[in-house]
């Protein structure tokens, strides 16, 4: 038994949130399935981020928003044991409802005092259908909300670029856009890895976007 004063030591929690658009438009052209596939592909990369930082424990939660918002994965789940279950499209794009749920997690408690800044990745293909601005401001008013590392991925030409850009934290970077399934996987992976890496090492987000894909994939526009 250790004589060290105090209780058990443990890695600092890094809460990683995915805000996924599940509106009806995500059903078109296979966008929802592409998002599901992309998230599934991203998990091993997040495990690598966690492995590279022995001082952080990455815990994943997923918020789905359509008509209203709900926790798709409510319990903070260690990335090592996280399994992606498919989201299903249908309904409006109530981003404000999702931001409201997220804001509730951005205070202490429930956030641990010792937590690293949370990482949030927003993925959306359309324009919010509720009053999201007040909810977004409320999120930033929360102590951990303002400290969160936020990135955004727009899907296709109908994504609300202004909204997505304003969601991103920091001044050097805007939202990234995906126009086909390959790009979406690339962008979600890039956003997830960089948001969690920046949060876990208390460093700034990169001031550059993801590296370009193969030119044929860059040019192909599906959405």
């Amino acid at each position: 038994m250790t004589s060290r004063p105090g209780n058990t030591l443990a890695q600092r929690p890094l809460h990683f949130f995915v805000l996924a658009d599940c509106s009806g438009s995500m059903a078109a052209d296979g966008k929802m399935q592409a998002l599901n596939n992309a998230m599934r592909e991203t998990i091993p990369h997040l495990v690598e981020v966690a492995d590279a930082n022995p001082h952080a424990r990455v815990l994943v939660r997923v918020l789905a928003f359509s008509t209203g918002a709900r926790w798709h994965v409510e319990a903070p789940t260690p990335i090592e044991s996280f399994v992606w279950t498919d989201l299903v499209p249908g309904g409006y794009t109530d981003l404000g409802a999702a931001l409201g749920l997220l804001a509730g997690e951005m205070r202490t408690p429930p956030m641990e005092e010792r937590a690293l800044p949370p990482a949030v990745v927003l993925i959306s293909d359309g324009m919010p259908t509720d009053e999201y601005r007040a909810a977004y401001n409320a999120l930033l008013d929360e102590p951990w909300g303002s400290r969160s590392v936020r990135l955004a991925v727009g899907i296709g030409r109908d994504a609300d670029r202004d909204m997505l850009n304003s969601f991103v934290s920091g001044d050097d970077l805007g939202a990234v856009t995906a126009n086909n399934p390959e790009q979406l996987a690339h962008m979600i992976r890039w956003a997830s890895v960089h948001a969690s890496r920046a949060a876990s090492t208390a460093t700034a987000l990169p001031n550059f976007g993801p590296t370009p894909l193969d030119p044929t994939e860059e040019l192909e526009i599906t959405w």
Partner: protein, 489 residues
């Protein structure tokens, strides 16, 4: 090595490079120092801990934290010799907040700029920062600062930025001393390098009873603990180990404990610990010297005697100390007062100067003295003994009668009842605790009992709302706050 230069306090400390810095090659950006100061035969221990910022912009934060702890020891030592811990508790705390942050920030800034003059920024540093360093050179030295001043009967804490200032009583009970700063979240911190650094300091004076253990730590120590209740566990365990194994053994173990925190949490981990030695372990001590001036019973004397001026004074710091200043308690920079066990103060002779006639005021010695008179007139004296004009501030009376003006009402105590403009106001207060004084400070109205150790504070926005109640019951238990009154003063 354990320092016991102060016969009352033993001090130890240590600092370990964080696990993440081991990986990145960054230096240890934490620093700590301790010192002993002797003033008029009394010995004080001073602890300082600083955490240089970790972002890439702060390329010299390791130097900044070194300078911070060195400056802290120098500034506080000088202040102690000028009577820092002498006088009524709330005044000590207030004056510490008024003077020390300014002196600390000024000295730190000056010393950092001196360092920069001798060691200009290099292109390598500019590249590492990814930003221009010249435009705000002090930013590169950014650091937090935590200071503890440990005296015989009192301890003063000052903290700027994150980290922990833990205080435990003899039984290991953790004292929640400093007011919270909710801005310190997720690695965000106030800092010596920010423009409003002076205002961002927090302070607390702890006395009656004085602490047994004080631990200052950078956030790298605390963030590694899984349990949110780690602070209580640490001080209890530490006190237990010091008392069973001895502080020398604890000092030998300290680097390993810090290493564990630095490895798991990733950040540099630093602590400085002061332990009050049991009486048997101390060298023979002289009885405590008089405070520079005393003010026990000040408010009660002033407001109890119609038309009287009350000045707490001494003759050159050699008079007998008051049993206890008002109010005896843990005082913080905020309006909330933590209840403690406090024996009643004894009454103290006061000198009644004739301020309005322009004479009869002798300088009260180190620290500030206040005179309160009819109509709420307050006279504040300069702390500088050589000041030819010791009256620093005079607030003229705004109304007649014994009381004071606050929130556009005239507040008095009549027959133990708080009155606003002649009408009973405020909460229903236990008649067994007759009111004898009012103070208005930090935008809060304070009511005091006859012996000065019982106190109720009100916020200005809602006179009906009791902010804090402190009462000395003699057994360490605080009385329950009175029921909230009707909101109609």
């Amino acid at each position: 090595m354990v320092s016991q230069a102060s016969s009352a306090w033993a001090t130890i400390g240590g600092s370990v490079l964080g696990g993440r810095h081991v990986t990145t090659g960054a230096p240890n950006q934490d620093a700590w120092q301790s010192a002993t100061v002797v003033h008029q035969g009394d010995e004080y221990a001073v602890l300082a801990v600083a955490d240089g910022h970790g972002g890439s912009r702060y390329v010299r934060s390791d130097v900044g934290s070194d300078i911070a702890v060195a400056v802290a020891v120098e500034v506080v030592s000088k202040a102690l010799r000028e009577g820092l811990l002498e006088g009524p508790g709330r005044r000590v705390e207030r004056e510490a907040l008024r003077q020390l942050p300014q002196q600390l920030v000024a000295a730190w800034s000056r010393r950092c700029l001196d360092h920069l003059g001798a060691h200009p920024f290099t292109s390598e540093e500019a590249g590492r920062a990814g930003a221009s360093l010249e435009s705000d050179p002090l930013m590169s030295y950014g650091s937090t600062l935590l200071v503890a001043v440990l005296g015989q009967a009192r301890c003063l804490l000052l903290q700027l930025g994150d980290g922990d200032s833990l205080v435990a009583l003899s039984g290991g009970e953790l004292v929640d001393a400093l007011p919270p700063d909710h801005r310190l979240t997720g690695g965000e911190t106030t800092s010596l390098c920010l423009p409003n650094a002076e205002a961002d300091f927090r302070a607390a004076l702890i006395e009656n009873p004085a602490p047994t253990l004080v631990l200052l730590s950078t956030d790298g120590y605390g963030v590694a603990f899984a349990d949110p209740g780690w602070r209580q566990s640490v001080v209890s365990d530490l006190l237990n180990q010091i008392e069973t194994r001895g502080i020398e053994q604890v000092e030998r173990s300290l680097p390993n404990w810090l290493q564990d925190s630095a490895r798991v949490g990733g950040d540099d981990a630093t602590v400085a610990i002061g332990y009050r030695l049991p009486a048997a372990g101390r060298s023979a001590r002289k009885p405590p010297k008089a405070a520079g001036w005393v003010a026990s019973g000040l408010v009660g004397a002033v407001l109890g005697a119609v038309g009287a001026w009350a000045l707490a004074t001494s003759s050159g710091g050699d008079s007998s100390p008051a049993a206890s200043p008002v109010p005896s308690s843990i005082t913080t920079s905020g309006p909330v007062t933590t209840p403690t066990s406090t024996p009643p103060s004894s009454s103290v002779p006061v000198v009644v100067p004739d301020v309005e006639a322009g004479g009869g005021v002798s300088h009260p010695g180190p620290g500030l003295a206040w005179i309160r008179g009819p109509g709420g007139l307050v006279v504040e004296f300069s702390p500088d003994p050589s000041d030819p004009d010791p009256i620093a501030e005079v607030r003229p009376p705004t109304s007649d009668g014994t009381g004071l003006v606050a929130w556009e009402s005239f507040w008095t105590i009549e027959n133990g009842v708080l009155m606003a403009d002649g009408v009973p106001a405020g909460p229903s207060i236990d008649p067994a605790l007759p009111l004898s004084g009012i103070e208005f400070e930090n935008d809060v109205l304070w009511l005091l009992s006859e012996d000065g150790d019982w106190l109720v504070a009100f916020r200005p926005q809602a006179i009906c709302k009791i902010v804090a109640v402190s009462t000395g019951t003699g057994d360490g238990e605080s009385a329950a706050p009175p029921d909230p009154p009707a909101c109609e003063p």
